[in-house]
């Protein structure tokens, strides 16, 4: 038995036989064929090339219609490679002269070309070309192996995938019924692969380091995605222990799967809209898969992070369009403008001197209001996207009315520019503000007059209300969504919104924890926005609630004196309303 530790990225325990993939996802052995098989091998090769070319052409048309011909053209070039005389000649030689299998010939020919590129020494200039060639190789191999052995598509029995790395699209294509879990040598917590695994509910551990040499396909393995553990060849008692943990979780998620397509309504018929919080465009599918009514929080920081230059208006626009298209008609997409601290920003915008207290410094909308070109570029893209769906714009970290007015003023100015330029947008695009600074919560009644909706960002609201950084373990106990001060602020905000007939939503982590669902409904919330992963559990709770009962719970909680009292009270209520939910991951 070998126990390995990596980065936990998607919770859950899985036990099953290993399927070991190599770096390219498919292990291609150097195999030779008999002389009389050569013609058959050539025929197989050409069938696969034709199918792959057809597919590349389809991708070209698809991308052209979605993003424009300049992007489609990339795949047109892919399609041409399948007819490239030198590529075909080298494949022909490898099969006819060397008698290699078609699969190995493709793999070898691509590697030879890549090696030649790389030997030319224009490394950075050529890096993406190698990626294109590997993409092409995979396409052909997929067709060659398709009818016989496609590791991830034609699985006969469920497996645990062990790989050097998995790309986000490979992860997205994993069949949840056939892949119990995966573990990789590379990868990090914030990779798209990690995010997809979480969205798909596939237990996963990444960044384990070298281990593939210690395991073969078919060996029993255990993945504990919550703890970041991979066990190779487990002992019997370890196996028994993990089986117990797995079964406990399975019985619970079984309930959620059954309820996935049921409406999010209380027993007395109140509709509680459940929206998804997303960070990357890819996560929109995780929302639709779980029946989210829309995207309640589309964070846009990913467009700015990890690069040297600001994203262009087109990059913004395309990222927004992808989510709008995925969500489709009737599902709103609330786009939050840039919410970054100066400390996390590309060099051009970074503060000249490090701030002494970044969380109280130039961050989020404060940064945007100091850099209007940066801000208006994003606003233009959001407005342009509003012509294509139910887009709503939301400003984060607004502390005062004048700040809010400046934001709205800039938005109106951008609208005017677009109108003059004859660019389409929705002139009635709903405008909202996050309520996450206590001053805004206290002034909610005044704020409500100036916007169409509020979204309560509980994470920051808690931090600023209790003046406690939850990552600082010495004061983390002060940070609690159950603190009566936080509950009273939420009540003020909800009441103000209702008085003025404006929408109100909670989009902090609090809304993803079913423990708080009765309380939030009781405080008057009819819309919650949460991580897609938490949608099933929260919906299961909603479907067991009665609004009158929730209102009593809220009234009782508001009268309590401490976070501990509120938490204990809510735990008792949950035990009464939905005993099966107890013991979930929220404590």
């Amino acid at each position: 038995m070998i126990t390995l530790r990596g980065i936990p990225v998607s919770a859950g325990v899985a036990i099953g036989p290993a399927l070991v993939l190599d770096a390219e996802g498919v292990r291609i052995p150097q195999r030779r064929v008999a002389a009389e098989q050569v013609n058959g091998e050539i025929a197989r090769l050409h069938t696969a090339l034709a199918a792959a070319a057809f597919e590349a052409n389809q991708t070209q048309r698809d991308i052209t219609s979605r993003l424009g011909p300049q992007y489609g053209a990339i795949f047109a070039a892919h399609a041409l490679l399948f007819e490239d005389p030198d590529f075909l000649a080298s494949l022909d030689t490898l099969v006819r002269t060397e008698r290699f299998s078609a699969e190995y010939a493709v793999s070898r020919a691509v590697r030879d070309f890549v090696r030649t590129f790389e030997s030319m020494g224009e490394g950075t200039f050529l890096a993406w070309r190698s990626a294109d060639l590997f993409d092409i190789e995979k396409r052909i191999l997929k067709h060659l192996l398709g009818d016989r052995r496609e590791p991830l598509r034609d699985l006969r029995e469920p497996v645990i995938v062990l790989a050097r790395d998995l790309s986000p699209s490979e992860t997205a294509a994993l069949d949840r019924n056939k892949v119990y879990a995966f573990a990789t040598e590379h990868g990090g917590r914030t990779s798209h692969t990690a995010i997809m695994a979480n969205a798909l509910d596939i237990p996963a551990v990444v960044g384990i380091g070298h281990f593939l040499n210690d395991v073969s396909s078919g060996d029993p393995v255990i993945v504990d995605g919550g703890e970041g553990v991979l066990v190779l060849d487990p002992d019997d008692d370890v196996l028994a222990q993990y089986r117990k943990a797995r079964d406990a979780r399975l019985s619970k998620s079984g309930v959620w799967v059954v309820e996935r397509n049921l409406p999010s309504v209380t027993t007395d018929g109140a509709h509680i809209a459940l929206f998804g919080n997303i960070e990357f465009p890819d996560e929109a599918t995780a929302c639709t898969a779980r029946g989210a009514g829309g995207v309640g929080l589309y964070r846009t920081e990913f467009l700015y992070v990890g690069r040297d230059t600001d994203p262009s208006e087109e990059e913004h626009f395309r990222a927004y369009l992808r989510v709008i298209r995925e969500m489709g008609e009737g599902r709103p997409v609330v786009i939050r403008t840039l919410d970054l601290g100066a400390d996390k920003f590309v060099a051009a915008h970074a503060a000249k001197e490090p701030e002494k207290n970044p969380s109280l410094g130039v961050r989020s909308v404060r940064l945007c209001l100091r850099d209007t070109p940066l801000f208006t570029k994003q606003l233009r893209a959001i407005l342009r996207a509003s012509a294509f769906g139910d887009v709503r714009v939301m400003f984060p970290m607004v502390a005062t009315l004048p700040e809010l007015r400046k934001c709205v003023f800039l938005l109106r100015e951008v609208m005017e520019d677009l109108r003059e330029a004859g660019v389409e947008f929705n002139p009635n695009v709903p405008i909202g503000t996050m309520i996450e600074v206590p001053s805004a919560a206290v002034m909610a009644n005044e704020f409500a007059r100036e916007v169409d909706f509020f979204s309560i960002g509980t994470n920051d609201l808690i931090q600023y209300t209790l003046a406690a950084d939850r990552t600082n373990e010495l004061v983390a106990d002060l940070y609690s969504p159950a603190d009566p001060a936080v509950l009273r602020l939420i009540k003020t905000v909800v009441d103000s919104a209702r008085t003025h007939g404006k929408g109100v939503n909670v989009c902090g982590e609090m809304s993803g924890d079913p423990l708080f669902t009765p309380l939030l409904v009781g405080l008057g919330l009819r819309q919650l926005s949460l991580a897609p992963n938490n949608l099933p559990a929260v919906k299961a709770m909603v479907r067991r609630l009665d609004v009158g009962d929730c209102e009593r719970i809220a009234a009782e909680a508001l009268g309590l004196e401490s976070a501990r009292d509120v938490t204990n009270y809510l735990l008792r209520q949950r035990q009464r309303i939905h005993p099966e939910a107890a013991g979930g991951g929220e404590e």
Binding site: Q70, A73, A77, D84, M120, E122
Partner: protein
Amino acid sequence: MDNGNTPLRATVVVRNPKGLHMRAAYAVAKVAARFRSAVTIRKQDRAVNGKSGVSLMTLAAVPGSELVLEVAGEDAAAALPVLAEALAAPSADGLDRLLH
């Protein structure tokens, strides 16, 4: 009398700011494929088949690279100026017009 065995030569500088990247390479290869003549493109001491996009890419012709274009065959005289234009084009867009 030239029967096409003596190649015609031209020196061309890559002006595409992205170099002879994948799309540009295939645009050139597509034009070259329209002629019966053999098309060879050299960069320093490496020579590749001008009708193969993937081989053209292996030249790693960054912007400003000097390429020697060689065309041998019956339609070489017609091919040379068209191919020189394709190789020197500042963008892969619009090269389709050279196909007609």
